[in-house]
Symmetry: D2
Subunit: 263 residues, 4 copies
Amino acid sequence: MTTFDTDMPPMTTSIGRSTADDIWVQGYDLAGELMGEVDFGSVFYLLITGRLPTAGEARIFNAVLVALADHGLTPTALAARLTYTGAPDAIQGAIAAGVLGAGSVFLGVFEDAGRVLTAAGPTPDTGEEDLERMAAEIIEDHRARGARIPGLGHPFHKDGDPRTARLLALAREHDLLGPHTRLMLRVQERATSPSGRQLALNAGGACGALLSDLAIDTAVLRGVAVVSRAAGVVGHLAEEARAPMGRTLWHMAERAATYEARR
Amino acid sequence: MTTFDTDMPPMTTSIGRSTADDIWVQGYDLAGELMGEVDFGSVFYLLITGRLPTAGEARIFNAVLVALADHGLTPTALAARLTYTGAPDAIQGAIAAGVLGAGSVFLGVFEDAGRVLTAAGPTPDTGEEDLERMAAEIIEDHRARGARIPGLGHPFHKDGDPRTARLLALAREHDLLGPHTRLMLRVQERATSPSGRQLALNAGGACGALLSDLAIDTAVLRGVAVVSRAAGVVGHLAEEARAPMGRTLWHMAERAATYEARR
Amino acid sequence: MTTFDTDMPPMTTSIGRSTADDIWVQGYDLAGELMGEVDFGSVFYLLITGRLPTAGEARIFNAVLVALADHGLTPTALAARLTYTGAPDAIQGAIAAGVLGAGSVFLGVFEDAGRVLTAAGPTPDTGEEDLERMAAEIIEDHRARGARIPGLGHPFHKDGDPRTARLLALAREHDLLGPHTRLMLRVQERATSPSGRQLALNAGGACGALLSDLAIDTAVLRGVAVVSRAAGVVGHLAEEARAPMGRTLWHMAERAATYEARR
Amino acid sequence: MTTFDTDMPPMTTSIGRSTADDIWVQGYDLAGELMGEVDFGSVFYLLITGRLPTAGEARIFNAVLVALADHGLTPTALAARLTYTGAPDAIQGAIAAGVLGAGSVFLGVFEDAGRVLTAAGPTPDTGEEDLERMAAEIIEDHRARGARIPGLGHPFHKDGDPRTARLLALAREHDLLGPHTRLMLRVQERATSPSGRQLALNAGGACGALLSDLAIDTAVLRGVAVVSRAAGVVGHLAEEARAPMGRTLWHMAERAATYEARR
């Protein structure tokens, strides 16, 4: 018997529990109430928030996951493929390598947008005037710090990211255009680039706002994008297993690089 | 201009492509045909196999993803939580740590079962007699090598994993109990433990068989489980951010361990 | 032949190059000039900075690596062991899990201290008066922001981390107590905790300052700690392979945690 | 007070322990006996094996670490750089991505060679005749299975890897050419490729054999290579932070790849 006295906080969990006959996930009977009854995206929502989404919430949450799953031969997809080249026996490592690039530069915008909006603190009861004021404060705060507002502008889809329009249409259809997204839209309407050009709301900004409206904790916003991107990475690895490009990429890099000794 | 001659195989991809106006995933218009139209699990299936699943296939694929997403405070969930304790600023790292434990001991059974079944090579046209012969060969091969047949037996759910029964019922309901699963069931019926006891088909074995029937390439079978488990890990991290147990676990380990100098 | 025009910056590298007969690392013949001639710590220094360290620099750099390699059953060591429990077939994954916890909470202090000191910009020519001014500014800046000064204080070694004294003695012995470390010491002398108590210089702060004096780029300061910690993690995994604690830890967590359904 | 009864094996560790005044590593006083006294490679050896190496052992162990640290723009270096492109704020993630490629294809040979040699079981007392017999059995076993003998042959350094000759010379100089290496050399002398050509002993094979002679447990052989490679990866990241090639590589891949829709 191991006995010890601890002054540490107790450990509590609400996620999973098993008996010899049943497995429970957030209080639901896994086999009886979730499998075959609820799609995977909805169970992911349940795991994070502790409750199942409504039909409209499930549709938007799934659309966000679908929107972020892949973007072609991105650095994350390439890192996963190159890792698979060296370690095809441990595909979990290649997937991990793929998601480790989901940092501040790409998927971080997602979290940053959510953080800015959540900090402003809009609620379903916030009126138009207050949203205006919050938007003005966000813009002014970023201008003063010389910082870019997360969620605005895209290096490639300059006339508007096609995913943004679709996400907003879905939210309107289900009457789920909540306070964070309405605030984000006001920021977008009023903000301009340093050269005076209006900036489009990009998919990261739209997703960050919509997920905040769906009550996803800011701390794990990036985690939602990571799971989505993991699915894309497995897609790339399935292709890499069938038609590898890792070695070609390697030799291409070696030939394209110039060697300049520092010694 | 960089010019180089390469004798390496060409690089081809079918997954993603973007123009200034559109984003394509496996030949589908992401915003117009997938977002809001298809659930995330189905898009994951599309990413891996190159085609959207039928309604029945989507239900089974989602059920497999749901079945594997969480199992409580497993080593993978704990590794993710402990990583988050040290690096809450980079949640992608905690998720990666969580999925890196998806190796041979836990989620590997999944892949091993798929590999054994796929190697036997059953097809929709394989008759009952041939299935019998394949099952006998698999059992004999494992007996000769003193190896356990992957997918059979469970340390905890000894009377049958509740997920297995549910998955098989769903497959029957959609008439999708394919040759790999039928072979797995014959193996289960005939195999016994070294002590002569009959072994239940566990969820890993059922999932491996069903995904093989769904034409998931063996090379990425474990990858399907990894994405599912990543969702569970994010659930644990959402809880860890709200009610942390990482430090308690740390101090518990330090106090429970005995220090034995080797010097 | 693949030809493409690119407006991207050229790729250049100075690190490694191989011919059929030789392997070069930063301009040194690997087999002839480095292996057996120079210790691993010094080659690590060469890889990062492009030059071999002097004897004194090598002794300090090695001492820093030794200082950070292990600290017992830390969250990072536990995360690595739990990952190994599930995936003993892919030890690189368990090591990766171990280093992923080297984030802002633990090893980040290292980088943060270096960043603060480097931003102040002391050089070998900076006089005592200017160091005083820089120290006062650092303290005032943190006080104004209500932020803790990185590198000061330790939750456990309250009377002074034994590693700090040793590192400073080594630096003095080799006349390598450079401007960043001298600035760090002035900050330590003048700074007090909110309750007015003087704070000791912890090992992270000393290491961050000394490595900055050794011309390690702030961008990779944390990377030095990560390699050191990776060695400690492999030590833990060697022990885990021989005398595993992963499963005990798992069951301990399951039994200690209280399950509280949210549904 | 948390009390629980456990039938699990006890947790014991010999690696690290801290008091308020001292930090102990494998029974050594970290600040007093290791820092400044022993190089990092030797402390890494201590962490794994529980004892400090002799001078000769330290020289060989360091030479092995130096030999494996870098090999230019390998897939692992590229994966780390691409991960850094997306997540420069979390360098531990880029390092982890770099080491995750240390799998069966590249650094695995290292472990595989050690495993084959250790399984044969040579000891310092094994005579020449028995070594001959063991070598013949290893060759015959691989021939029968149609398997390549790990450690022999190199795709690039066909006339002999320069690192191999250096490592063997160092081992001879210190009279540390132990039974595993002597067995490896006999295997190399007698083995031929399918086309009848003699195969050179590559660096992976030499390192695997020498580390087995140094009493490194086979379970963590790959871990030694991983720590060494982590140092090389940090070198690449220091360069990437200064002169990035990640985005060029990304665009190069996008332009070089052919898009072939499957739909």
